[in-house]
């Protein structure tokens, strides 16, 4: 059970503001989706949480302790980064051995069972792994870490659909037995959506949204039909996306709605469909 608190964190790279006064809390035993476009600040935020970078302002606390240069706080986190951190000549099995050396909670047996499920040859060197298998290797190290906080930065990079499915299945199975704080930063939102409980959307270094997935999805819906009628219905509402094809129009609305809204939509002869997380994400980012 570990909580991560991010308090007013800012980070600049030269004149680029990567993070602007970001405040967030990752509660214990929940799965978070950290979403945002390229350059939104997801990796920078993860790097600050994991002490790989320093914030220019603000602080990160792990269970109330500062995360910066704090071995005790950092010993609670396992992070899968997008880039390789292992020496290229290291063998997969040695990667497991060293993970066990540095982290006594590392579950070697589970790591080998995952390697078997993903058909990962543990005698290969990291240099000889394909990008997909390289991701599998890093995923296994993180999943088997046994630590209370696990962070994945683009976990499914290079993985085919079957392995992506297997990953999320394994994550759910492991999480149900060993609840922990999980943060997943990804672009492939629809696939991750089924495991996410909370969603945090970053845009240009700022938190655009931080809510439970259920509440976000409940608030978002698409209305489609005749363009003028769609306009009549959506007038005064929080439209985050509009698409028009001839007289046909689809508008995505992000606003709490009730039975009276549904009745009005029926009355106007329009169709209502729930918005998917991916669609909502794109709409929010573009709006």
């Amino acid at each position: 059970m570990s909580k991560i608190e991010i308090k007013n964190v800012s980070k600049n790279f030269g004149s680029t503001k990567a993070l602007k006064n970001v405040s967030l809390t990752f509660e214990p035993d929940k799965i978070y989706g950290l979403l945002g476009r390229n350059g939104a600040g997801k990796t920078t935020l993860i790097n600050i949480i994991t002490n790989k970078m320093f914030a220019d302002a603000g602080e990160v606390l792990i269970d109330g302790e500062p995360a910066e240069e704090n071995d005790r706080a950092q010993a609670k986190i396992s992070c899968m980064t997008e880039k390789n951190v292992h020496p290229w000549v290291m063998k997969v099995k040695d990667g497991f051995r060293w993970a066990c050396e540095f982290n006594s909670s590392f579950d070697t047996r589970y790591a080998y069972s995952l390697a078997h499920k993903f058909n990962l040859d543990t005698d290969l060197t990291i240099k000889s792994l394909s990008s997909g298998y390289h991701s599998v290797f890093k995923l296994i190290l993180t999943l088997a870490s046994g630590l209370p906080v696990i962070i994945f930065d683009e976990p499914v990079l290079g993985l085919d659909a079957a392995y992506r499915e297997l990953l999320y299945r394994e994550l759910i199975a492991y999480y149900s037995e060993h609840p922990k704080t999980v943060v997943i930063a990804t672009h492939l939102i629809d696939e991750a959506a089924k495991v996410l409980e909370q969603v945090v959307v970053l845009k240009n270094g700022e938190v655009l949204l931080a809510k439970p997935v259920e509440s976000v999805l409940r608030s978002a819906y698409s209305v489609s039909g005749d363009g003028s009628r769609v306009d009549t219905y959506t007038r005064g509402k929080n439209i985050i996306r509009e698409e028009t094809i001839g007289k046909f129009k689809v508008a995505t609305v992000y606003q709490e709605h009730d039975d009276s809204d549904k009745a009005r939509i029926e009355e106007l002869g329009l169709e209502i469909t729930p918005a998917g997380l991916q669609e909502l994400f794109i709409s929010l980012i573009d709006s």
């Binding site: 790989k52 320093f54 240069e69 704090n70 950092q74 880039k83 020496p87 540095f102």
Partner: protein
């Protein structure tokens, strides 16, 4: 302390091991070449130097291994302070291994070829303990120097990196020019200073002055390394 030893162990088993083996192979090759040259040329020698080989390796390993180790160790949740201490310990062990390797090959070499050592030439001393301690101190200094140079390069921006790469080629002729203008006093004063610092003198050479200076220089450099390292951030993430 546990994590510091683990990091040192990681450095040796995954990063340094290959280079130590390559260095040993080169020392062996050097021994064979020395023997062959002396036999074939029908001369008594002298043949090249072991200590120069290990010194080169110490500098190169200092230059090469910092980013590899830094990236991995930080990802294991270990702080920069502990990483620094572990690297200091690693370079100390590495220097000791190089000193022993150099001495072992020196002893073997003496039986085969009339080997030439920097230590022997500089101090006129053939004692093995003295040579081991001296090679250790020089290897330690060069390892930390390599680490320091690489770290400056690592924490610098692109323009600074270009400047660091080009600076020696600009400074060398400028220094030469200034020395000519000053009637050679710059180089002769530098030579006198270095002679004192490394304990070299024509009348009474003392390798232990050199050992003390090299260790002191390594300690001062490692202090500077720590100042740079404590705010160093992972790159290429």
């Amino acid at each position: 302390m546990g994590n510091i030893l683990k990091v040192a162990k990681f450095n040796f088993i995954t990063l340094f091991n290959r280079q130590i083996l390559i260095c040993s192979a080169i020392l062996l090759l050097h021994l064979l070449i020395s023997a062959a040259v002396i036999r074939l040329a029908n001369t008594e020698g002298p043949a090249g130097s072991n200590d120069v080989i290990v010194m080169c390796f110490a500098l190169i390993m200092g230059l090469v291994y910092f980013p590899l180790s830094f990236k991995y160790i930080l990802s294991q949740g270990i702080s920069r302070k502990r990483f620094f201490l572990a690297m200091c310990l690693s370079f100390t062990f590495l220097a000791a291994i190089f000193a022993l390797l150099s001495a072992i090959f020196y002893v073997i070499n003496l039986k085969i070829a009339n080997v030439w050592m920097v230590y022997e030439t500089a101090y006129g001393d053939r004692s093995i303990p003295g040579m081991v301690v001296w090679v250790f101190s020089v290897s330690l200094f060069l390892g930390v120097l390599g680490w320091f140079i690489r770290l400056i390069y690592y924490v610098s921006g692109r323009n600074m990196q270009i400047f660091i790469a080009v600076a020696p080629f600009i400074l060398a002729p400028v220094l030469l020019f200034l020395n000519i203008l000053a009637d050679g006093t710059i180089f002769s004063a530098t030579g006198r200073f270095l002679g004192k610092v490394i304990g070299y003198s024509t009348t009474n050479p003392n390798p232990y002055i050199g050992v003390a200076s090299m260790v002191a220089a390594a300690v001062i450099l490692s202090g500077l390394v720590f100042l740079l390292l404590r705010r160093a951030q992972i790159k290429d993430q």
